[in-house]
Structure formats: C-alpha cells, structure tokens
C-alpha cells in the first residue's frame, strides 16, 4: 500500500493557555480520497485544515503531507475558504490567475490556463466582471477555479458552501465531484451539513469536542459518479440518518 498523502501521528494543538483544541489525532488520508470532517462547533475541524496547510504548527506530534513538512508541500496544495476571499479590485480572470501569478507564471500561459478553468466552471462570460457584480454562488465558482488553477494534488475546503442557498450548494457539490473525477486530486472537506458530507465523501470523519478528537471514521460506499438523483434514494437517506446518529453521539459525549 502507498504511504498516505496526509499523515498525522499523535497531533495535538492548543492556542495559548486555553487548553487543547485537538488532542492525540492519528489521521491518515490516502491519495484520491474525498474525506469530510464533521463535528460539533469547537471540535477543531478548521484547525485540522490549517495544520495540513502548514498555516499553523502543531503543538505536539508530527504531520506529513506527501511525505514532507506541510509548509514544504504547499506547492501542490490549494485552500478554499468559507468566504470566496476574492480580491475585489481584480476582475474575475485576474482572481483566477492569482496563484499562477504569485508562482511566477507568465501572462500568456496564465491567460490560457484561466480561460480553460473559467470554461470548466461555466464562468467564461463573466471573465471581466468584478467580484461585487457576481452572486454568492458565482463567487464561490471563481474561488474554486482559482484553487484548481495551480493543478493541486490536494484540495482543502473549509465550509465553502455554508453561505449559499440549497440549490446552489447542491449544484456546486455535483460540480465539485465532476472536477475531482476529471483531475484526480485528493479532497479534505469541512462542513456542518451531514447531507453534504454523505453526498461528497468516500469517507467521513466524525470529530468529538473538548478536546477535539476523532470520534468515528465512517466509509461511504456509494459508487461514483454521484448525481443529484442520488439524494432521492432510500440508501442515501439511510446513510444520512446513520451519520446523523453518530454525530449526535459525538455531541452527547
């Protein structure tokens, strides 16, 4: 078996003197998986993503991403935040090209790549619009396109669709899976929505709180590709019920 793409061994994280946010986390995520972290507020879901991204160091334990320290692995990692975090003074096209620009890719190559990505997420018509002229769902598409522009091997997503209406969220869920199938990255996703977690994931990690720790790891064996109609099946409903039950268990503790 290949070494895991993300490898946490006995990782703890605390901020200042306020006790541990995460304690004794052993977490392995294999290449090509779509793993969702779910749990009550304060269980440290977002902190896990920041640790993987190397945006904050662990207090104890070691983290390896692609066999490297998280900071050294950043080149192949993209982060999608809860807000679209677009630069409002740049038109869509230049927002999508931001990562490439910071990596020193020349203008012609940037243009080629951003055009392809805008087509991929269906935004080619608004390439010259400014963020404030876009809807919430469109902004999030721009954010996704920007994250994918640098051809990541690992995509970290921190509740990216939490602020969207249900229709846009369902559409983007489906699109995200299509993009994953085409490009083959590994996904680590944080959400509050059990339905979203079941729909997207190959594996769900339920976290418990005080301190944040793994409560249960749950494989979702539904076949890919998954489409909207999956949500209407009894099997899907049963899985949502089951994960909700586990989540209640994590909260009750």
């Amino acid at each position: 078996m290949m070494p895991p793409q993300i490898d946490f061994s006995n990782v703890s994280k605390g901020y200042g003197n306020s006790g541990m946010v995460l304690q004794g986390l052993d977490l392995k995520i294999q290449k090509g998986e779509f793993v969702t972290l779910i749990g009550p507020s304060g269980c440290g879901k977002s902190t896990v993503l920041k640790l993987i991204a190397g945006l904050t160091p662990p207090t104890e334990g070691t983290i390896k991403v692609n066999g490297m320290a998280p900071r050294d692995a950043r080149e192949t990692v993209s982060f999608i935040f809860q807000d679209a975090t677009l630069l409002p003074w740049r038109p869509v096209e230049q927002n999508v090209g931001l990562g490439l620009e910071l990596d020193g890719i020349n203008k012609a190559q940037r243009r080629e790549k951003t055009e392809a990505l805008l087509r991929l997420v269906g935004l080619e018509k608004v390439a010259n619009f400014y963020p404030r002229e876009l809807s919430g769902g469109m902004k999030m598409r721009v954010s996704i396109a920007r994250a994918l522009a640098t051809s990541p091997k690992l995509l970290l997503m921190d509740e990216p669709f939490a602020a969207l209406d249900e229709m846009s969220r369902d559409r983007l869920n489906e699109e995200l899976l299509r993009l994953k199938a085409e490009q083959g990255w590994t996904g680590v996703f944080v959400t509050h929505s059990v339905e979203e977690a079941v729909f997207l994931s190959s594996e769900i990690i339920v976290l418990a709180t005080h301190p944040g720790r793994i409560h249960k790891v749950f494989a979702i064996d539904l076949p890919f590709p998954r489409t909207v109609t999956l949500r209407e099946t009894a099997e899907f409903g049963a899985l949502v019920a089951k994960v909700s039950h586990i989540l209640r268990g994590a909260i009750a503790q």
Binding site: L55, R74, S78, F79, Q82, T85, W89, L98, L102, Y130
Partner: protein, 263 residues
C-alpha cells in the same frame, strides 16, 4: 436625475436666501461698509481686483497641493513601514498622533524661522498638518486585511513584498482616500495659516492668508470678504477633486464608490 436637480435647486435657494438676509441686515441696522460690506460690493471688488485675487488664490492652491501631494507620498511610505514592522508601529505610532494634536498656529512661526519664508515653507506647513490623517487611515487599511486573504497568499508561498504590494496596498486604497479627503481640507487651512506668518517679499504677491492680513490692516473689508470666499472655494475645489479621483479609482470595484444615483 430629477432628484439631483431638486437638491441643486434647494442648495441654490438657501444660498440666495442667505445673501438676502445679509443685505437686509445691512439695510435695517445701517452697518457701515468697513464693518460689513454688501454682497454687491464684495462681488464688485472681486471682479475689479480679479487678477490679484486669482494670483493669491493660485499661490495658496500651489502651496496646499504641494503639501498635500508630499503628505500622500510620505504618509503612504510611513504607513507601509508601519504595516510591515509591528515594533516600528508600536514605537512610532503615538508620535503621529502628536503630529495631529500639536497646534499648527503655534508651530508655524517656528518652521518659518527654521527654513525661511516663501512658498516652500508654507507648503511644508500644509504638509505637516495633513500628514497625520494620511498615515493613520492608510496604516489602518493596510493592517486590517482579512486573515484568510493573507492565508491565501501564504498558500502560494508569497513573499512579504508580494503580500504588501499585491494584497495590503490595494486593500488599503479606500482607506487612503478617506485620509486624503480629510487631509485635503486641512492642507488648505495649513497653507493659509502658514501665510499669515510667512508674509511676502512684495506687496500683492502673497497667497490668500497674507492678502487677508493685508486687506484687514487696510480696512479693505470688501476685498477681505472676497478673499475669504476664494479660500472657501479653494477648500471646496480640493474636496471635490479628491472625490473625483476616489470615484475614478474605486467605482468599478468598491462598494462605497458606486454611482451617486444609488446613494
């Protein structure tokens, strides 16, 4: 559009009303013209002496603009240093507040004593007085960038210079304009204050402040009024010029700078 015309009409009516009250006060109380000249007399002297009025106006405009532009350049550079080095900010920020609280009327004679009179000295006073709001607002804008945006840049291993110039600086432009708007008004006040002390090498060749002093000593109250009006117009012009630049640079992307119709 119609709404705006009504606004303009109202403002004009208020102005006309004020002129009328002014004239009425003169008639009713028989005020001598050296105490309070009539609006007609002020307009007449403004036209008759328009060349010297414009000369004074342009000197003060030049001094204020010079001081303001210098304060924008120096203020932004200082703010960039403040944003980049927290310890510098902690150590020196209190002194920028000092810059704001020091009474310019008291310091102007000192500055003139040190660097001599004339246009550069007056511009320097305008610069000193308008520097603080530029530094304060720009620094605030630079350091209040959302944490996630910084994280986004870090994920691409952006250098400190890239974060400063591609993220913090553009992010701070709206705040910079808030600072410039405040500074534009006080730069004019600073220049006029400076001129009160700077004097002039030749009679009639000074800016508005100097001419105000001169007209007052000669009891040319009607011309004094014309000069005060010119000073007010200058402050107004600066403010609107800044508003225009703000709109020009920000209207495409910034929420607060949308077309005035929606305001």
């Amino acid at each position: 559009m119609k709404q705006r015309l009504i606004t303009v009409a109202n403002a004009t009516a208020v102005f006309a009303g004020l002129l009328l009250i002014w004239q009425l006060v003169l008639w009713v109380f028989h005020v001598p013209p050296y105490m309070l000249p009539s609006p007609v007399a002020v307009s007449r002297v403004a036209i008759n002496r328009s060349s010297s009025l414009l000369a004074s106006l342009s000197i003060t405009a030049l001094e204020s603009a010079g001081g303001l532009i210098a304060s924008i350049i120096v203020g932004v550079v200082i703010a960039l240093v403040f944003a980049q080095f927290r310890w510098v900010r902690r150590t020196l920020y209190p002194y920028t507040i000092l810059l704001q609280t020091v009474p310019i009327v008291a310091v102007a004679p000192l500055i003139l004593m040190w660097i001599g009179g004339g246009t550069p000295a007056v511009a320097f006073i305008a610069f000193v007085i308008s520097l603080a709001p530029i530094i304060a607002n720009t620094t605030q804008g630079l350091i209040s960038v959302e944490e996630n945006l910084v994280h986004l840049f870090l994920m691409h291993n952006a250098s400190p210079a890239q974060i400063l110039f591609k993220l913090r600086l553009p992010y701070a432009v709206p705040s910079l304009f808030v600072g410039i708007r405040i500074a534009s008004g006080i730069a004019v006040i600073g220049a006029i204050t400076g001129e009160l002390y700077a004097g002039s090498s030749r009679v009639g060749a000074g800016g508005l402040g100097y001419s105000i002093l001169y007209a007052s000593s000669q009891l040319q109250t009607d011309y004094l009024f014309a000069l005060v009006a010119a000073a007010t117009v200058l402050g107004f012009a600066f403010f609107f010029l800044v508003m225009f630049f703000e709109w020009y640079f920000l209207h495409r992307w910034h929420e607060s700078a949308r077309a005035p119709e929606t305001a």
